[in-house]
């Protein structure tokens, strides 16, 4: 699915943020990626959807080496990887429903309005379908971002600090949605520095916790 073999990456030449990363996401598994701020969690996720390319090592997504992908190939890859970005990344001039439907629109697919209503209902945003993104609260924006991430029924869902700006209740509501997704067979990778959140989720679902420390990736200990 997503495999890294001895991958390294640095934003500047000679300065590596990540090194020797070896990772294999297990299909259908719930994963956490944790580590302190600035440790490279977002960078690792960006590598996973080919927004960045590794300096060395091999990174393959769905069996394709991302370094050799064409621009159209990258677009196709991103249709199979749903991403909930930390800053949600909406088009503020379009209503929530159209933002959620964007992946369908840009891939030339017809939007099924009934399915759209179901999806917005699932993330509890049915009443906000016509609202513009700036009018939503942080939790609503994250749930809308999750709806957009899953509308193409991707094989993998990546979430980058999705609860960063949310209170505990709202965070757990969002995590419940991700757990539901995982139970339908989707592979989930959530980057977060909130260890309490990880523990709360692990109480409900089997999850693998990966920790970035010192630029390398480790499997977290039993405390998580």
């Amino acid at each position: 699915m997503i495999e890294m073999q001895d991958v390294s990456f640095g934003y500047r030449a000679g300065s590596e943020l990540l090194s020797g990363m070896t990772l294999s996401l297990q299909p259908g598994m719930f994963h956490f990626l944790t580590g302190p701020s600035g440790s490279g969690k977002t960078t690792l996720l960006r590598l996973c959807y080919a927004d960045l390319l590794p300096n060395t090592g091999r990174l393959s997504v769905f069996g394709q080496d991302v370094v050799g992908l064409s621009r159209d190939g990258i677009a196709m890859l991103r249709r199979r990887v749903g991403v909930v970005h930390q800053d949600t990344q909406f088009l503020d001039h379009l209503p929530v429903a159209e933002n959620v439907a964007l992946p369908l629109s840009v891939s030339g697919q017809v939007v099924d309005m009934a399915a759209m209503r179901d999806l917005l209902g699932w993330v509890q945003l049915a009443q906000h379908a016509r609202a513009l993104p700036p009018s939503l609260s942080g939790g609503e924006r994250q749930r809308a971002a999750l709806a957009r991430a899953v509308i193409l029924s991707p094989d993998v869902v990546l979430a980058d600090e999705p609860t960063g700006n949310l209170d505990w209740d709202m965070s757990m509501r969002l995590m419940q949605l991700l757990i539901e997704l995982n139970k339908t067979g989707k592979t989930v990778l959530v980057a977060t520095h909130d260890l309490n959140l990880i523990r709360a989720v692990k109480a409900q679902v089997s999850a693998r916790v990966l920790r970035i420390a010192g630029g390398t990736l480790q499997l977290a200990g039993a405390d998580l």
Binding site: L94, E98, P103, S107
Partner: protein
């Protein structure tokens, strides 16, 4: 990413995206940008308005050159000068020569009143023409391609000394040359207007694309192909350029139609307008503007997409 990949933004695919039906969100992913939109519309309209006049100038000067060239080439004049007693005899002799000259029509000896009329601008209406040694003038229409101007000149020199053939070449040539230069100026003006339009539309498109860098980034992140993004912008700007140019062209054509009556003012200005099928030519201006908008936006979109992975 390799630069060659941007060749996938083929003109054919862009064209299909441009003319294809897309009333949904694909047409709305580019945010409405009021100022840029108005700037593009206004620029295209103003340039099209000017282009109508440049086109009219080019067409009018072309017609003028043609008219001067053809009208003056349709006849020649023979001047007959001789001492008083011999002038009538020589004139008769010249008339006989002209009547046997191939490729010409019936020669016509200008009567004294007509000659006086021709001289009036120089001598005034009251000058007694009879008192002046004015030559007889014979107008000879050219009727066919076998007319040999040089042959007739030599024959007159030999058989009727004092008769001089004037085929108007001497003063026709600079007039035709001037008209042709005016036409070239009209064409150059059209080219400059097209280039200025392209520059303005490109600037407007680049400004819009730069302002929408975040939009492009989001679209790429959710799996949009370059061609999808480019079509959205190309469609928006091509339509704006065509609509603006269409309005400018209609205004320009209206202004041309309101020019003074062709025969009333006289002179060069009488020809500044469109005739018959010529009225269809300005309708090409919005098409050209759309083509310019298409390529200018395509170029600007490529530049912008290069900076987004």
């Amino acid at each position: 990413m390799k630069r060659g990949e941007f060749r996938t933004l083929s003109i054919r695919a862009l064209w299909q995206g441009l003319v294809g039906r897309d009333g949904g969100v694909g047409n709305r992913i580019v945010p409405p940008t009021g100022f840029t939109a108005q700037l593009t519309l206004f620029s295209a309209a103003a340039m099209a308005f000017l282009a109508v006049f440049a086109l009219a100038l080019a067409l009018a000067t072309g017609r003028l050159a043609e008219r001067w060239s053809s009208e003056l080439a349709q006849s020649v004049t023979v001047r007959v000068s001789a001492p008083d007693g011999d002038q009538e005899v020589l004139t008769q002799s010249v008339m006989q020569i002209l009547q046997t000259t191939p490729g010409v029509g019936q020669p016509r000896l200008l009567p004294d009143e007509e000659v006086a009329e021709l001289l009036t601008p120089w001598f005034g209406p009251d000058m007694p023409i009879d008192a002046l040694p004015v030559p007889n003038l014979i107008e000879l229409p050219i009727a066919g391609p076998d007319f040999d101007s040089e042959g007739l000149r030599l024959r007159l020199e030999a058989e009727a000394p004092g008769a001089i053939l004037d085929d108007h070449t001497q003063w026709r040539r600079p007039l035709v040359s001037a008209a042709k230069r005016l036409r070239a100026l009209g064409v150059i003006s059209l080219a400059l207007i097209a280039a200025a339009s392209a520059a303005m539309i490109t600037l407007a498109a680049k400004a819009a694309l730069a302002a929408n860098g975040q939009v492009i980034q989001v679209l790429r992140l959710i799996g949009a192909r370059d061609i999808t993004i480019a079509i959205a912008f190309v469609r928006r700007f091509t339509h704006r350029a065509a609509i603006g140019a269409g309005a400018g062209t209609l205004l320009g054509m209206g202004a041309m139609a309101l020019l003074p009556d062709m025969n009333a003012a006289g002179g060069f200005l009488t020809g500044l307008g469109f005739h018959g099928w010529g009225w269809l030519m300005p309708l090409l201006i919005p098409v050209v503007a759309a083509v310019v908008g298409f390529f200018a936006t395509k170029w600007a979109a490529l530049k912008m997409l290069e900076s987004v992975r």
